[in-house]
């Protein structure tokens, strides 16, 4: 893999929860993305961009704007499905940015004006959601995004399909992506509907340990002085991490969740009064991904506890004003209790 000049993921000091949450989403893109909440300067954006260099290779259809999976007829776009000579090439999962000033047209796609002007044909011009298919869509400062864009993202993220009806064009295409959003809670809250769509949440704080703080600065200076030399120091650890992630992805399909854990997850949700069912599903999926990450075939109570820490905190509110924070110890305890009930 050619080493680009990004800051290496493995060079990020601390922030283990955040890094793990991102890794889990690469292992299982169906987890539903991560919301990273934290004050400024806590390596949020750095981590997400660094993730791009750890993405495993995968097959995709050549020249398809949606990078369709050549092996899965159910999820491919109409054009690929009907194209009998589609060729498959190797590609990588990537991080697609949602630009700050993006318009609706740019996000969902619209009429191809150039085509219209030149040939008078009505064609769909794919937008950012098209690029995001089978990739990670990164939205920085997601709480500052305009409401109507948020609504569009919600729909596509949930259903895995982007349906476009505008300017006389009617088109739909696959849009399976993991949504990674960052936000600074001081600047405003996210509506509960959007919060619920994020599979995992991580609250990051700056490093408080003096040594860690020093190390953060030291590494950043070294990186800025000579990015390539700095990155070379981490080549081995990066490769090891990428390998581990790839292995986990393979293992995931073999992971089975025992019935007691399914029941426990349901009990936990009920005990903590979370809204809806996404928490249950999220907990089990995350537990399975954690098990795969650790090379196991069955998730256990520890995995469920860890999963609960990621999946529950942002789903606690029932009222727009309830604090969406639950202490980690309470979550862990509830999980234990849930498992003890037979």
């Amino acid at each position: 893999m050619t080493q680009l000049e990004g800051y290496p993921f493995t060079a990020i000091v601390g922030q283990e929860q955040m890094k793990l949450a991102l890794i889990l989403n690469v292992i299982d893109p169906q987890l539903g993305g991560v919301l990273i909440r934290g004050e400024k300067g806590t390596a949020k954006s750095t981590a997400v961009r660094a993730l791009a260099h750890l993405m495993p290779a995968r097959q995709q259809v050549q020249n398809c704007p949606y990078s369709c999976d050549p092996t899965n007829e159910d999820t491919m776009c109409e054009a690929c499905r009907q194209n009998s000579d589609r060729t498959s090439i190797e590609g990588h999962m990537r991080v697609v940015d949602l630009p700050v000033g993006a318009t609706e047209d740019r996000l969902v796609g619209t009429l191809d004006i150039e085509q219209a002007l030149r040939t008078g044909k009505k064609q769909f011009e794919p937008g950012i959601l098209a690029q995001a298919n089978r990739n990670i869509l990164y939205v920085d400062e997601v709480n500052l995004l305009e409401d109507h864009l948020v609504d569009l993202l919600l729909d596509a993220a949930a259903m895995g399909v982007n349906t476009v009806e505008r300017e006389g064009v009617s088109h739909s295409h696959p849009a399976h992506f993991a949504l990674v959003g960052t936000m600074n809670p001081e600047e405003g809250e996210l509506r509960p509907q959007l919060l619920d769509r994020f599979g995992l949440v991580v609250d990051v704080l700056g490093e408080h340990d003096l040594e860690s703080r020093v190390e953060v600065v030291r590494r950043r200076l070294a990186y800025e002085a000579d990015p390539q030399a700095f990155a070379r120091q981490y080549t081995v650890s990066q490769q090891q991490l990428a390998g581990r992630i790839a292995a986990a992805r393979c293992r995931l399909s073999k992971v089975q969740c025992p019935q007691e854990l399914l029941l426990a997850a349901a009990r936990v949700s009920l005990a903590l009064g979370v809204e809806g069912h996404r928490a249950d599903i999220g907990m089990i999926r995350a537990a399975q991904a954690l098990a795969a990450w650790e090379g196991k075939d069955r998730p256990d109570i520890v995995h469920l506890q860890q999963a609960a820490q990621f999946v529950l905190p942002h789903r606690m509110r029932r009222d727009p004003f309830e604090q969406g924070v639950l202490p980690a110890s309470q979550i862990a305890e509830t999980v234990c209790q849930a498992l003890d009930q037979k």
């Binding site: 305009e146 729909d155 300017e167 399914l262 009920l270 069912h277 249950d280």
Partner: protein
């Protein structure tokens, strides 16, 4: 995209039945599924396709421009065949089929009008149009906003979905979800038998439907129930009978019986309850669809279940520890009052709060707004490139050129130019200037004030308003919260708001004025409303007589034409009526805290905001 099978949806019996009913009678207008996020509304709604595969399924994506719904110019026809033809809009394409709309409470007013089967007119009213008929299946989260009343009648059936509490069902939901994620075909196959049976059931019911008869007794019962629920007009009864007939057809009966009418009413009446009640009362929370609950409510005293009342559990901390003020002196006798029981904040607001079109006035500066959603286009000269609406321009050029039989490529001329018509956000900026002096802590005043503010915040949250909190006490005024859309932060500040010290009303008013002017300068398109909560008893000022200083500050506010509302928090037998004086100087309406109800405050703020546009 392959939809999730209807037969594989776990639980949600009422919602599933509602969909079945709707598919039986082609004359059904719509089904509305409401519920909290993650309960399965969209999943279930979309799964309806699997039990009626012969009907065309069309989706209305969020943010679809209203122009897409109606028939519009066919670009290709013009350019290639030189004919001016209309291409079918989304509604036409959905004709005789099913149209699915998610988050129907968040659509724009024009879209709502079109969906309701009405045609928007230039004068702002809407008249019935010959619109294509289709079944509208929609979902919404009531806590995100109320439903436009125009659409109420569109929906024959309404179900509020609740999350499952049964452990076995919950785990089944997870199992199905996991299987769907791994291998869709397997799940579909597992339920293939049930799915076919359901398709068969619907088909048989459709055949039986024309022979189903309705007894006079049943008609009378439908009428009685609708009357008890105080539904407007006759549509509720008609819907009830229609649903009851479908129920009979599904069950294989030829006659509609009384229990069927009652069951039908459980679907057709909840969203129409008290639709007529305008200002002053709050509609009840929609009820779960069990006959017993629903009918009990009808006959009992309409006690409103208060789901959204915040826990005013903090006991008043009669905290006498001195609180340091910026100038170093300490205020004695600090009290932190709890937030009083707010008048019930509903999660079902009557839609007179549709702010964009409420007064019927168009904003004079709408077209030249620098930001906001693009909602249309108009002819004009652009002042900068980003003003040009590309696609309408291309379309106009195509029409002109196409009709002149000129060839391609398209040549855009200046007369073709169309500019973006932007609609800035509809929220308003509310500056709450709260008197936090010692006199406010007395009695239950602060409690009541906090309660009123809390319910205003609930409203603000839904309408995406920005709220700022300014308090004044002792000798100065302090901004506790700069303008934020995070009403959660406002509520947190509200909880810990202490009282104590003298009343520096003049200082407070000056500061408020500064803030309003600065906010206006920063964002001229959004109205700013100043809400002053005080008893008017000014007892401190930088110089001169406090009351005179306060009046003068109020005069300045009026001079700047700042929209304001004054809430008089004076209590007790001896009334000085100073707040009324302040209000007069400020040229603002006065509300009395004692008579204040949430809705009055909301309306007052709304009215003021509209005048400000």
């Amino acid at each position: 995209m392959i939809p999730y099978p209807y037969a594989a949806v776990v639980g949600q019996q009422a919602a599933k039945k509602a969909l079945l009913i709707a598919l039986v009678d082609p004359a059904m207008g719509g089904v509305l599924l409401a519920g909290c996020p993650g309960v399965g509304k969209s999943l279930l709604a979309r799964s309806a396709q699997t039990i009626c595969p012969q009907r065309r399924w069309t989706e209305l994506p969020p943010g679809t421009p209203p122009s897409q719904l109606s028939d519009h110019i066919d670009l290709e026809a013009i350019l290639h065949r030189h004919t001016h033809r209309q291409a079918a809009g989304l509604l036409q394409r959905a004709a005789d089929g099913i149209l699915y709309a998610d988050a129907i409470n968040l659509l724009g007013p024009s879209t709502n009008t079109l969906l309701a089967g009405l045609q928007p007119q230039p004068t702002g009213e809407a008249v019935p149009s010959v619109s294509p008929s289709f079944l509208l299946i929609a979902t919404m989260d009531p806590s995100a906003g109320g439903l436009d009343p125009q659409l109420l009648d569109r929906f024959d059936l309404y179900v509020e979905m609740q999350p499952e509490h049964d452990l076995r069902l919950r785990t089944q939901i997870v199992q199905h979800a996991l299987l769907w994620g791994q291998n869709r075909r397997q799940l579909i196959e597992r339920f293939a038998g049930e799915t076919s049976a359901l398709i068969e059931q619907i088909s048989r019911a459709q055949q039986r439907l024309p022979q189903v008869e309705v007894t006079d007794h049943a008609l009378a019962l439908a009428g009685t129930l609708a009357q008890q629920a105080q539904c407007a007009g006759n549509r509720a009864e008609i819907a009830t009978i229609r649903v009851a007939r479908a129920l009979a057809a599904l069950a294989g009966h030829r006659l509609v019986s009384a229990p069927m009418v009652r069951e039908a009413a459980g679907y057709t009446l909840p969203h129409r309850l008290r639709q007529e009640q305008k200002q002053g009362t709050t509609p009840p929370i929609p009820l779960p669809n069990t006959e017993e609950n629903f009918l009990d409510t009808l006959s009992s005293d309409h006690s409103i279940p208060q789901k959204n009342v915040p826990a005013s559990a903090d006991s008043p901390k009669d905290d006498h520890t001195p609180f340091p003020t910026p100038d170093g002196s300490t205020l004695s006798k600090e009290r932190i009052s709890p937030i009083g029981a707010a008048p019930p904040a509903t999660n079902w607001l009557p839609a007179q709060w549709s702010r964009a079109g409420r007064s019927g006035k168009h904003r004079s500066n709408a077209g030249t707004a620098q930001w906001g959603r693009c909602v249309g286009s108009f002819a004009g000269r652009p002042s900068c490139p980003s003003d040009v609406a590309l696609i309408p321009t291309v379309l106009h050029s195509a029409v002109r050129q196409g009709l002149q039989h000129a060839g391609l490529p398209l040549q855009v001329q200046s007369q073709d130019l169309r500019l973006k018509l932007r609609r800035p956000k509809t929220g308003i900026n509310i500056l709450l200037a709260v008197d936090a002096s010692a006199s406010m802590g007395a009695g239950q005043r602060m409690v009541a004030v906090k309660g009123a503010i809390y319910s205003l915040l609930c409203e603000a949250y839904q309408k995406r308003d920005q709220v700022s909190l300014l308090i004044f006490r002792g000798t100065d005024a302090q901004v506790l919260l700069p303008f934020t859309s995070s009403v959660e932060r406002a509520q947190r500040q509200l909880k810990t708001l202490p009282t104590g010290g003298k009343t520096p009303l003049a200082t407070g008013l000056h500061r408020a004025r500064q803030i309003v002017l600065a906010t206006r300068a920063r964002d001229p398109s959004t109205p700013v409303v100043l809400v002053l909560l005080s008893d008017g008893r000014a007892t401190s000022a930088p110089q001169g007589d406090p009351l005179t200083a306060a009046f003068s500050a109020a005069d300045q506010i009026a001079a700047e034409k700042i929209s304001a509302v004054v809430i008089d928090t004076e209590q007790g037998v001896l009334r000085l009526g100073l707040a009324a004086e302040i209000a007069r100087h400020m040229n603002a309406p006065l509300l009395d805290l004692g008579q204040l109800q949430a809705t009055n405050l909301k309306q007052a703020v709304q009215k003021i905001a509209d005048l400000d546009r």
